[in-house]
């Protein structure tokens, strides 16, 4: 069954280079959009692969016929057995046929297209929750509004342009000055560190002395020596330490700064425990984490990396 001449259809020799050529062209087109470097690389790949392809295709014209095993199949149809009787039966079947290659490459290309379409969509769905989530600093107004050793319920909008949904509440106590002469404030975040319900100060609120400042800031003095959560009975002392109930750590606190005589809230941080009170309190500070998660002790190992440590 040798090639008898020009009356049989001429089939070019097998070659993988068209794939590389296609990649090069794709790269070139992509580069036209992205950058000329990519385009240049793509053009180079296309030229080299095109040359190699042409070399492969013209192989037999140039006399060197590649020694490729002809593809054979077993035929179940008994009528055609006579036709293939000439094929030696002991010749091993090719391990990887063209149809299997086409099947695998169709699946592979389909999977690649699926991934190219799906991954950006999933990223679009998930990533905005983790990027650009830092909240602005909040100006709570002049520090004269915060009498010494008394708690004030301060609520403010962490992002005034987003509206009431960003209203936060902090319990602010002016501790006077530390031994080093620095101003000291205890600023507790109102969210319970059990599951995030709004903690309430246990004591009468002086509604008469309520003040509304610019940017949605609202101040209400309160006589509170403890804080309680209405949802599941969490109880905290005046320093935010857990006294009773299900919370797993002390109440979250804010960093603060004083600018032009005004109290400015900084970032939130988690507190393992507070010893001492007021200006002389020793606070074990940790990066902020979701309510209900431990920040110290063995249980903190369950939360090795939390988003706030990565994205700030």
């Amino acid at each position: 069954m040798s090639d008898t001449g020009h009356d049989t259809p001429h089939v070019p020799g097998p070659s993988l280079w068209p794939i590389a050529f296609a990649i090069g062209v794709a790269c070139l087109l992509l580069g036209l959009v992205i950058s000329w470097i990519v385009a240049a690389v793509g053009a180079a790949i296309a030229v080299v692969a095109g040359f190699l392809w042409a070399r492969d295709v013209t192989h037999d014209v140039r006399g060197e016929v590649p020694s490729i095993e002809p593809e054979t199949r077993t035929v179940g149809d008994s009528a055609s057995t006579g036709a293939i009787a000439a094929v030696p039966v002991d010749r091993p079947l090719p391990a990887y046929t063209r149809s299997r290659f086409l099947e695998a490459s169709t699946l592979g290309v389909g999977a690649a297209i699926g991934a190219i379409v799906t991954l950006p969509v999933v990223g679009f769905m998930v990533l905005p929750a983790f990027t650009d989530v830092e909240e602005d600093e909040a100006d709570l107004g002049p520090i004269e509004n915060f009498p010494e050793s008394e708690y004030v319920i301060a609520s403010y909008l962490s992002n005034p342009s987003a509206g009431e949904v960003t209203r936060r509440t902090a319990f602010v106590r002016n501790n006077g000055q530390t031994d080093a002469g620095e101003p000291s404030f205890t600023i507790l975040y109102s969210r319970c560190v059990h599951l995030g319900c709004p903690v309430q100060p246990n004591g009468p609120i002086d509604e008469e002395a309520r003040q509304e400042l610019e940017n949605g800031v609202e101040l209400r003095p309160v006589l509170a020596q403890s804080f309680g959560c209405p949802c599941h009975g969490g109880l905290y002392d005046a320093e935010g330490n857990r006294q009773a109930g299900p919370p797993v750590r002390s109440m979250d606190r804010y960093t603060f700064s004083i600018r032009n005589g005004r109290l400015v809230l900084g970032e939130l941080y988690a507190v393992g425990n507070v010893s001492g009170t007021g200006a002389s309190a020793q606070i074990s500070r940790y990066p902020w984490s979701v309510p209900g998660t431990h920040v110290d002790g063995v249980e903190a190992w369950l939360y090795p990396i939390v988003p706030s440590q990565v994205t700030g």
Partner: protein, 267 residues
Amino acid sequence: MAAKSKRQQMVDLAVLAPLDWIDERTAFVRGTKWFLFRNVPRDISWGQTLGSAALTAFIVQTLTGAILALYYKPSAAIDPVTGKPVAYSSIEAITDELTLGWLVRGMHRWGASVFIILLFLHMGRVFLFGAYKYPRELNWITGVLILALGMLMGFTGYLLPWDQTAYWATVVGINLNGTAPFAGPWLAQFLATGPEIGTNTLPLYYGLHMLLLPGALIALIFVHIYLVTRLGVASPPWSTEAAGRERPAAVPPAGTRAGLVRGSGGD
């Protein structure tokens, strides 16, 4: 048999001929017969209707939900007319102003609880009857996934009225997820669209509740019901007879030993 009456011929022409035409091209009639005209064990009871009841509740949720979506607005911005959030105002309008809106919303709200309760009752029946055993393991597994998605529907739907109950219940739900080891804080931040619930949270929950979760749920329900149809209804544990139609004793197909399979492989 006598020749067909004139009337019968006309019925054939008007009804059966079009059905034949469709069936020849789509196998629709055969498929419907395969789905509906099944042999069931003689000693089944009302307990086996709980799955259909749950399906009915789900269909009610789908229809009422689609109608509610025509009037609900998932926005946390303040409505300049009412001075309240847009989402809450639209819920108020559905309940108080739109004709029969209170009924549709009430059906959707209470139907949600009915759906979950029926899922649990159905699950309990299947468990107590041992109907999850071979060859119905995948019925159980898809059923558990349906239950999980049903709970997620409840969680995401609860936020949509955007009132204090909705807000704080969702805060607690998000933070419950946040306490899961390792992935918890990441899951919580995804669910809250940031460290705290913000303006994007409501659209996220609306999209999940309206599109993604129902799509997954409907697909799973189709798989679940296909498996029920294929494998047949299980006999009760006290049954003395095999489930479904009797087969010739000579060649029992696999799975009929304990009367587990209806016996027909889709014919």
